[in-house]
Amino acid sequence: MDDNTIIFQPAPARPAPSSRVGPRAWLRANLFGGWKDTVVTLILLAILALTLPGLVDWMFVRATFFGDADNCRQAGGACWPFIVDKFNVLMMGVYPQELGWRPAVCAIALIVLAALTYTNRVRGIVLIVAWAILPVFALFMIGGAFGMREVDQSLWGGLMLSIMLALVGVIVSIPLGVLLALGRYYGPPVVKSLCVAFIELLRGVPLITILFMASVMMPLFLPPDLVINNLLRIQIAMILFSAAYMAEVVRGGLQAIPAGQTEAALALGVSRARTIAFIVVPQALRHVLPPLVGRCIALFKDTSLVIIVGLLDFLGMIKNASLDTTWLGFQAEAYVFAAFVYWLICYSLSLYGRELERRGPSAQKR
């Protein structure tokens, strides 16, 4: 560097112009960005103005919050005491009331584990084992084990049953789906065609059909001394159905992993099986987290179909409750409540999934 060298000084960064920040800028950018945006915004506001007052009036203003059916009929609005009265039944079905603490313990365990996962307190293998143990624990608690009174599965119902079906379904069908996807993607021809056949068969049939098969036809094929109870048959059917979809989601992730990743691991002398288990599958699952969460939500909602094979899940109990003669005429409240509960759980799952996506190396890259 001689004396004639000009020293390069990077210019300091300046704040953005005020027209790009603040509430006015937000309104402009999001609602009134041009004449098209403005028209859409006004139309949507009009629709809200037409529908919202009536809804608020029915749900809150004229609604009855305390009292009995007669109070409700006089007020004319929504009848929330009905939901309060039926709450236990909606949650647990005809499960013995005095044993209600057992499902409650399971619910708390589920919430605690979910919170620990969400806050990233528990990680790695401990996390996987905890989630694998949870449904087993729940089955023992609800069904009765360790000297507790046994409760027959025909008495299980309500939201408890819906969550059980979905939770066991998700926890078993994801690993099964991964295996199916691996079989389809890496397997020798025989394994590959078996996996393809299974996946395409299950995906080609509506869930209702599979549930009917499991509930009505399966006992006909099984040897008479092998009795599998109805709930278990339904659960297996849901797992297999879900696994077929999970497999296709996971396969998409497997295809997204560059060949260089496997090559690098193989070149280091790592075996093929370990390369797939530690390099390919974890990355593939991370890639497909959004659709995977989507499948979990779909599976939870699909549990409402079990009503047609005689299980009284949450929606089944809602239907039952609205037929109660004491509370006749309050169907709408029951279904609004059902919609709210389904939405609450599905939206939580969605938020949960987004948080999991946000984490990890792919997020730090940007």
């Binding site: 691991a265 070149a267 280091l268 002398g269 370990r274 190396p361």
Partner: protein, 280 residues
């Protein structure tokens, strides 16, 4: 043409000893032995991609500690050649022996060879879902059953040697290309290989980062590591290589010492190639 090359006395250039002394002591220990020992032997190797003949009758012997640069136009089979050495590509005809182990369908042999041969890729191929430290520990733990503590100790030592130990808890995506490639080199070295293959290690890098990777490679060369390097860095070839191999159309066209190769190429195709890359 280059037949008299195997085992000939080679001048050791680039005696950047200060760094070389400190680097990779394990490697040096494993390198002690006969200088003329043949570690890679390829005889009549042929390979086809379906019906495209990509390698044609390749004969190549590499002695211990030899540093070879392979160059040639794209599609000439140079990458395929070195990928055959650790069996990432399968050859259909001929014999490949690495450290006396014959490469065939026997997966035991393949694994054996891969543990002794390190490879550095053009696209780095670090594992993006693992921290830098975990990237380095992965193979020693899962391919050599090394205890985690020991693997981490080795990993840290190599990270320090390539100058990025302070990045050990970051993810690959947070590092620059040059840093990633240095991590990739360190990752290979953690398996304590006796041979290193480089497949265009600087081709995906920004100009400012090429030097930091080449410096690490030069240091490695000075430890006596056997190296086969596909590269277009001709200054590297000139200063480090014992032998330069020029390939075209799946054949070894010419091989010679770097000085003779660059100053006095004998085959017209080589002359044409060199005039293309040296005068652009």
């Amino acid at each position: 043409m280059g037949a008299s090359w195997n085992g000939a006395a080679r001048p050791r250039k680039n005696v950047n000893t200060e760094l070389a002394e400190t680097i990779m002591t394990d490697t040096i220990e494993s390198q002690i032995g006969s200088e003329d020992e043949i570690v890679i032997e390829m005889k009549g190797v042929n390979k086809w991609y379906s019906d495209f003949h990509v390698l044609k009758d390749i004969d190549l012997s590499v002695t211990k500690g030899e540093r070879i640069v392979i160059c040639g136009p794209s599609g000439s089979g140079k990458s395929t050649l070195i990928r055959c050495i650790n069996h990432l590509e399968e050859h259909q005809e001929g014999i490949i022996k690495v450290n006396g182990t014959l490469l065939n369908e026997n997966s035991k042999n393949i694994t054996q060879v891969r543990r002794e041969v390190g490879m550095v890729f053009q696209q780095f191929n670090l594992f993006p879902h693992m921290t830098i430290l975990d990237n380095l520990c992965f193979a020693p733990i899962w391919a050599r059953n090394m205890p985690r503590a020991e693997a981490e100790k080795t990993a840290l030592r190599y990270l320090e040697r390539v100058g990025i130990s302070e990045q050990k808890d970051k993810y690959p995506g947070q590092l620059s290309g040059g840093q990633q490639q240095r991590v990739a080199i360190a990752r290979s070295l953690c398996m304590n290989p006796s041979i290193m293959l480089f497949d265009e290690p600087t081709s995906a890098l920004d100009p400012e980062m090429i030097k930091e990777v080449l410096d690490v490679m030069i240091e490695l060369a000075n430890t006596g590591m056997t190296m086969l390097c596909v590269t277009h860095e001709m200054s590297f070839a000139r200063s480090v290589a014992d032998r330069v191999i020029f390939m075209d159309g799946g054949e070894i066209v010419e091989q010679n010492t770097p000085d003779a190769f660059f100053d006095n190429p004998r085959v017209d195709r080589t002359q044409q190639f060199l005039s293309q890359i040296l005068t652009h």
